[in-house]
Symmetry: C2
Subunit: 378 residues, 2 copies
Amino acid sequence: MNRLLVLEMIRQHRPVSRAEVSKLSGMSATAIGRIVGDLIEGGLVRETDQYSSGVGRRATMLDIDIHSILSVGVEVDRNVAKIGLIDLDGNIVAQRRYELDRSSAQPEPIIGMIADAVGGLAGEQGLDMSKLIGVGVGMPGVMDPASGTAVFSAQMGWSNVTFAPMLAEKLGLPVVLDNDLKVKALGESGTAAISGDSKTALISIGSGVGSAIVIEGKIYRGANNIAGEIGHSTIDPNGKLCECGKRGCLQTYITDLAMLQEAGQIKPVASIAELVALMKSGETWADNIIDRACTYIAITINNVVCTYNPDTIVMAGSFIDIDPEILERVRGKLKEFIWEPFVGTFQLTRSRLGEQAIMIGAAKLALQQYLGNGLIQQ
Amino acid sequence: MNRLLVLEMIRQHRPVSRAEVSKLSGMSATAIGRIVGDLIEGGLVRETDQYSSGVGRRATMLDIDIHSILSVGVEVDRNVAKIGLIDLDGNIVAQRRYELDRSSAQPEPIIGMIADAVGGLAGEQGLDMSKLIGVGVGMPGVMDPASGTAVFSAQMGWSNVTFAPMLAEKLGLPVVLDNDLKVKALGESGTAAISGDSKTALISIGSGVGSAIVIEGKIYRGANNIAGEIGHSTIDPNGKLCECGKRGCLQTYITDLAMLQEAGQIKPVASIAELVALMKSGETWADNIIDRACTYIAITINNVVCTYNPDTIVMAGSFIDIDPEILERVRGKLKEFIWEPFVGTFQLTRSRLGEQAIMIGAAKLALQQYLGNGLIQQ
């Protein structure tokens, strides 16, 4: 974790001296010296020919070598596989995208696609494969990063698929597999989350409702990597029956499907975009459906704030992304639902990385593993 | 944190060799050598005259010196101040208890009481004050451990009281102040939480409803040390008005007061004990009130499990403690409310330390600070 922190400091403040990094990080000069040595040997950091200005001994400045290594980020869901090469700045150097259908959304074909894409992308970029430090994969469902197994994914229709080891064998690269929302939160948590004492919670609303929290740059997993599954927290013991068999789960109120089903009582509506358009054209019933969803989103935010006490909440999902007005409506309702001691304790924002967040977050997780496992050298 | 881990390993496995500690902790022999050196120099650990048996080089065994240092644990609420000297095994060596009333539940008198008690207890035990490494205080409300300030405590009627610095000055000892439930969870988290990869959540039901989580031996605070305040999570947007001004907060369903108020519609009931007695004597209405509380407790457990994914849930509070049957009734309802992927992921238990949990947990926090701040030596 310290390697990552030092790398992040250098990245943000480059060019920067060892002494400044020590001051910024609060770590001892000895520790910084050792870690910077590791990073230089690993080719991630280099000494520049610049020197610090000002009084005192001249110090060599450090810079980061953004393209010294690349990390592969992969997003897989029922409909799509996205594979990207991501640099140390979190930028996408190159990417491929495959549409999936029922026959291709199986472990073997997806692993083949990813392997082809990684080889193809590296070839196009004229990259030596040794520059790729590893692969991170974000997938919906219960994932076990320790064994790299997709334990259960309703969306993929998979259970106990040893996805990461299979892909690692095919590629000859380390692979880390995690839940899509968890890596998305890691992607969104940005640089502040690594260098500071930050707690970023992501709330996602779409086919389900979920959350994830990144604490000081690290995904909080809970005992079984299923922390944050708020979609099945109970909001009303006498509420609507959920697909999980319980009553009144949060996600019976605010998923896309729940809204479209309700709309269907008036007229068939095919998408959230259509529902929002109907609201904008003045249909009161569409406005009512959206308004109630916004109320439950505000409640969800309160409940997430009461448990995790984050400093940042990132809202993600098509309903939120479709129109900035939605989040503003939610914001307006927060007054009514946020408990007073929490007022002003958090920033509420929309996703910064949008559609790329899972891929970028997965690549970041692979980088964390690489640095944390001491793959540079011990 | 590593010092605490090593100390805990030695405590649990004593007598134990450095090599075994290294093996158990997964830390390098060098790191263990250095930390054990610190602990020996600090007087917490000593070399015994036993040697490891078996093949290979004979190794000196380490033991812990349980009474080498003591930590002071303090619980303060509106009604009572408890002060205890706690040893490295988490046992109470000596304690005092003061009943408080409106005039004595003020910062100055309480600080005086604690100082008197610490001096008096040390004197009775024939202890040199230098054996006391610090004081931990658990108090209801929003506490800021960084500055030692009681930011806001509705129960005490305090705001922005710089309690820890005031007490530290009076005693000449480091003082750490924290929220009562947070230190209680730390106390209950036991030794497993320190040595393992454990996540212990505490849910407390009494004058309010709250929770706290200890992640790998460390209290999770959130951004403002108010993580876990689930009493004001919204269960029903159209529910009863809460004292906080919002509608349908969880604590409008299951606090002692909420139950007694409901009972009052039938006849005046003075205490939860009386209500439980009425249930046991066959009063259906008393049974209904208790049954609904149990339903909401089961819902609360589900919601805590969905967010934190703990491996252990400790239930605390008078309602739970009054009769083992209550927790069994809650357990019976879990089937209906726990989302399937979480079934079997956690142990549900009653408080192990009961009335002493806050005091013992506060002392443990003081010990963590002592070891973590390198007060032994750097």
